[in-house]
């Protein structure tokens, strides 16, 4: 019988939540790496028992962990992230030059085909790759080196590379996104990159339609249609039908188009999910009502999903990597909150219930669907 494994990264450790296909009774293991910030945990599509975790601390820096048994046991692997060449400077919040400095790994993206190959998105923004199971890491320097790097600025959470999407139909194509530089794409396996931000408008930068400088919060793709991308920007929900060459706003009737997460239904490529957040200065749901919004039309027409979610006095946030879907039938949807809840829906969002209510603030949620 199929099962699911939900991998949760929190401010104080990692947790693994497991259930059978009914998804109504959960076993919880953890905290793993108790006391450490776990920005992301993700499993290899090529070997579901191979997991990678980013473990960090303001005191002791970055650790990387690897599991070969689905998260039961872990071993530390390489944590040496050194920029290629002389890293130079990017812009600081006030526009002055600031040296590129490694701070932490935000996102891990295991290869679709090789359990030992994994990409890491880091702060200050760069993409690294390991081909030996995380023991050693090397930068793909073409991203920072493509020319605009000295003009990138951090978002409020730091200058993080938080999204990495591997194109299942084209191994040479990778999409990434950086807050607050924007989205980029490589078509030559990371050697060269170009910004893909045409159509984005950001009133918070001097030139609202600049080639770079947009605060992209997250990007999602359905694997069956890798040319179609969905983006939750600082403000605005966007879609692209040409692999990011251009974008159109699809915020439609959302109560607010500010937010962090965005994801796509596992079986319906035009069904997408966001969690609207009031504004950039009020990081909680409008009216204190936690609502997931679903569009079955690829954007523009949205319906609020509320059953089982708190509809009063709720002032949590949902961070950018804290939503995921399983591929069971019906599609399961999961998200975690800054208040420590992990909510699950086993029916594509119609009904929700908390798996846990009292975790530390949830930084990331990933799901593995196991045979």
């Amino acid at each position: 019988m199929s099962s699911v494994r939900v991998l949760v990264g929190t401010r104080k450790g990692a947790f693994v939540l497991s259930a059978d296909a009914k998804r109504d009774r959960w076993d919880i293991s953890g905290p793993h790496f108790a006391g450490w910030e776990i920005y992301h945990v993700k499993g290899s599509p090529a070997d579901p028992n191979r997991l990678y975790a980013s473990q960090s601390s303001g005191w002791y820096g970055q650790m990387m962990q690897r599991s070969n048994d689905g998260g039961k046991t872990w071993e530390p692997v390489g944590n040496k992230f050194v920029y290629d060449g002389v890293p130079g400077t990017h812009q600081w919040y006030d526009g002055t030059p600031h040296p590129w400095e490694f701070k932490r790994v935000w996102h891990l993206e295991p290869s679709l085909t090789d359990p030992d190959t994994v990409y890491a998105g880091i702060e200050d923004a760069a993409i690294f790759r390991s081909t030996d199971g995380g023991q050693t890491w090397g930068e793909l320097p073409g991203l920072r080196g493509h020319g605009s790097g000295p003009h990138w600025q951090p978002g409020a959470g730091g200058m993080c590379l938080h999204t990495i999407i591997l194109d299942p139909g084209n191994p040479a194509r990778i999409f990434i996104a950086i807050s607050a530089a924007g989205a980029f794409r490589t078509d030559d396996a990371g050697a060269t990159w170009r910004p893909i931000n045409q159509g984005l408008r950001s009133q918070t930068i001097p030139d609202p339609t600049a080639e770079v400088g947009h605060c992209v919060h997250h990007v999602a793709m359905h694997p069956s249609r890798p040319g179609v991308l969905f983006m939750q920007k600082h403000w605005d929900v966007m879609r692209s039908d040409n692999a990011g060459d251009s974008w159109q706003e699809v915020s439609g009737n959302l109560p607010t188009d500010f937010g962090f997460v965005i994801d796509v239904h596992a079986h319906e490529p035009e069904t997408i999910y966001v969690v609207p957040i009031t504004s950039d200065s009020l990081h909680f749901p409008p009216e204190g009502k936690l609502r997931v919004y679903r569009s079955r039309t690829g954007g523009n027409e949205w319906e609020g999903l509320t059953k089982g979610l708190p509809q009063s006095d709720c002032y949590v946030n949902v961070f950018r990597d804290a939503m995921a879907v399983d591929s069971l039938d019906a599609c399961g949807v999961y998200f975690g909150t800054s208040g420590g809840q992990v909510y699950a829906s086993a029916d594509a969002g119609d009904n929700w219930s908390p798996i846990v209510r009292d975790f530390p603030p949830v930084l990331s949620v990933e799901v593995q669907t196991l045979p």
Partner: protein, 98 residues
């Protein structure tokens, strides 16, 4: 023999309980002690000092014999009591946050 006391999180990383005891070749200095510590427990590399610059991480402090040695040069000799094993070399996570 040098005695080293690690903070709790780094004991977990190194998978040790209590003090660590190290044989250090040559003069006992911060650098030689940390080199020996990292050689014994490679998972600690990068947690105490930067991989490349070898600078102490800002929120890591080194105490011994009731002194703060954090700002001593890395090649300065450690106190005799540390070198002899009479006193431990304390790695401390700075008190920060709430």
């Amino acid at each position: 023999m040098i005695r080293v006391v690690l903070p709790a999180h780094l004991r977990t990383i190194a998978r040790v309980d209590g003090e660590v005891q190290l044989d250090v070749e040559g003069q006992a200095t911060q650098r030689s002690v940390l080199d020996a510590l990292e050689a014994r427990y490679p998972a600690l590399r990068g947690t105490l000092r930067d991989h490349v610059t070898q600078q102490r991480r800002p929120f890591v402090r080194f105490f011994a014999c009731e002194q703060d040695l954090s700002h001593e040069p890395p090649d300065a000799p450690l106190p005799d009591a540390v070198a002899s094993g009479a006193e431990p070399f304390l790695v401390v996570g700075a008190i920060a946050g709430g």
